[in-house]
Amino acid sequence: MTTWLAQRLVQSVFVVLVMTAIVFVGVNVIGDPVSILISPDANQQERARIVAEFGLDQPLWSQYLSFLKGTLQGNFGNSFVYGMPALQVILSRMPATMELAIAAILLSVLIGVPLGLYAGLRPHSFFAKFMMAGSILGFSVPLFWLALILIMFFSVYLGWLPASGRGQTVDFLGIGWSFFTWDGLSHLCLPVLTLSIFKISLIMRMVRAGVREVLPQEYIKFARAKGLSRQRLLYVHVLKNIMIPVVTIIGLEFGSLIAFSVVTESIFSWPGMGKLIIDSINVLDRPMIVAYLMIIVFIFVTINLIVDILYTTLDPRVRLSRD
């Protein structure tokens, strides 16, 4: 376990190193943030002063070294645009993104698991077949187009739900959440629905496949023969067996939800980190791009870790080592 963990950590540090180097070179290739940010009223001398202040007059390798030095001291650098520590800017937006991702996962599980159970237990019913065909649609529809259609229908045509922003937030544990207000919930609806459709289809299919695989197995037949009630059979034996794939999916998809927030947050003007990274790329705010990627690596490593640990608890046969 410890060696495995250490291996993971070394790997992640390596990824971060490679990635930040690529970003440094990449941003340098695209261009010069000063020419984008500077007011056109500025003259040559003022321009040169800013370039020097940002350290952009230094050779690239020396910029990278001073970045590494800063990182070792826990300082990821200041955002060019916001003038604040990049990490702080991103962390201030993180709750909004997390809220969206958590809500989408919750919704997907709450809808996907029962539908999948039903479809697995009664595979020949009309409803099950209908849902299976529908899940293909859910798999296929591009996220951004779904978002547009939902806005058109629910916000513009019906006028029921707001199309943008996060609504009213309430401070809880020092962070603003929109879960707790009616206004906030109504703002959550459309982006969460957009993000969930794919996940609902996915979870439903996983659960259905799981049920279909478990039901014919010997021990279920045995339990049935023993006279266990159908309810108990369902909840204890079947559910327990489909938990592993579902947990994996939730873990992996949580990561993809955070990544896809890039799309949903742009369309719904959701003030999270996905929108922030797009804005930062647009103005070549290098410290922000680097810090964002490092946070993403961190989140992914953590998620994978949690999934692996859950694995062992759910299924003791899996041991924490690969190969």
Binding site: Q11, V27, P142, L148
Partner: protein, 309 residues
């Protein structure tokens, strides 16, 4: 549902079926058993033909600025142009005939999807099979790289790559290949590992047949079926990803819109009721991806009979 019959275990089936049925025939028969999958295949074929022969049938070349007229912009479906041509699906903000634009967009979207999936399959499969065959440190290293890449969301990686390289059809294809090869590599390695232990490879090896021959003549053909399934699904994913990137303003050039870019161009007009600029390309995009997924879904069941339909 006849798919239920096919879900019987493989050994049972082999006993019942006449020896003459080849695996390919069995797959075709089982594939044809699903009307949804067959209709998906039909739609896909029609759309592919449309994409290939599109330039010969469209009323306008939407990629040629000379043929567009800004005075014809944002016309409703069915409107007439200054020159007397009818725009059956209306025009976009540049006076581009939507029907022609959608067919050309389909060409770009399908082309990007298929080419990137094929090249990624080629590269990924080679690396995967090589890893399985080489074993040891090489295999370990390759697998680490694949694991790393798979743990990252494709959209973010593609976004970064395109932000650095700029927009362009070739750049999009390249970005898609970079984010997709690892899926094939992992699958190919998995299948190859299983196949390698089988007797025919051992026999081939003991005959001192050159390594590359064993790899490509014997291992590859046996790894193909699952890879084809992945490739089918990946074409759909590539198309979606390309559309998303173009929607975010990072994909194909603005004068050569793909379906995603057409939707993006029309997005700003949706609130003012000019729905056709976004809606029709969106429907086309949805139809093609659904068709691909229907085909892919059935293929998966056919290739892997242990899974239940």
């Amino acid at each position: 549902m006849s798919a239920h019959a096919s879900s019987a275990s493989r050994s049972e089936q082999d006993e019942k079926l006449p020896i003459t049925e080849t695996p390919v025939r069995r797959m075709v028969r089982e594939f044809m058993a699903s009307p949804l999958a067959v209709s998906g295949l039909v739609v896909l074929s029609v759309l592919s033909l449309l994409a290939i022969f599109g330039p010969f049938i469209v009323p306008q070349n939407p990629y040629d600025l000379m043929q567009l007229d800004i005075m014809d912009s944002q016309l409703e479906p069915g409107a007439q142009s200054v020159a007397g041509m009818t725009y059956w699906l209306g025009t976009d903000d540049q006076g581009r005939d939507m029907l022609s634009g959608i067919i050309y967009g389909l060409r770009t979207s399908l082309g990007v999807g298929v080419i990137s999936a094929l090249v990624a399959a080629l590269i990924g499969t080679s690396i995967g099979i090589y890893a399985a065959y080489a074993g040891g440190r090489t295999e370990n290293l390759i697998m680490r790289v694949i694991d790393l890449q798979l743990s990252f969301p494709t959209i973010l990686v593609a976004l970064m790559i395109l932000a650095f390289m700029g927009r362009g059809v070739m750049n999009v294809i390249l970005a898609l290949i970079i984010v997709e090869w690892s899926t094939y590599a992992r699958t190919a390695r998995g299948v190859a590992l299983v196949e390698r232990r089988k007797e025919y490879i051992e026999a081939a090896e003991s005959l001192v047949i050159p390594r590359w021959r064993v790899l490509f003549k014997h291992l590859l053909p046996n790894c193909l079926p699952p890879l084809i399934v992945i490739a089918t699904v990946q074409v759909g994913r590539s198309i979606t990803l390309e559309a998303t990137l173009s929607f975010l303003g990072l994909g194909v050039p603005i004068t050569e819109p793909s379906l995603g870019l057409l939707i993006s161009n029309g997005y700003q007009y949706m609130l003012s009721g000019k729905y056709w600029i976004s809606l029709y390309p969106g429907i086309m995009l949805l139809v093609i991806i659904v068709a691909i997924n229907l085909v892919g879904d059935q293929l998966r069941d056919v290739v892997n009979p242990r899974r239940q339909a």
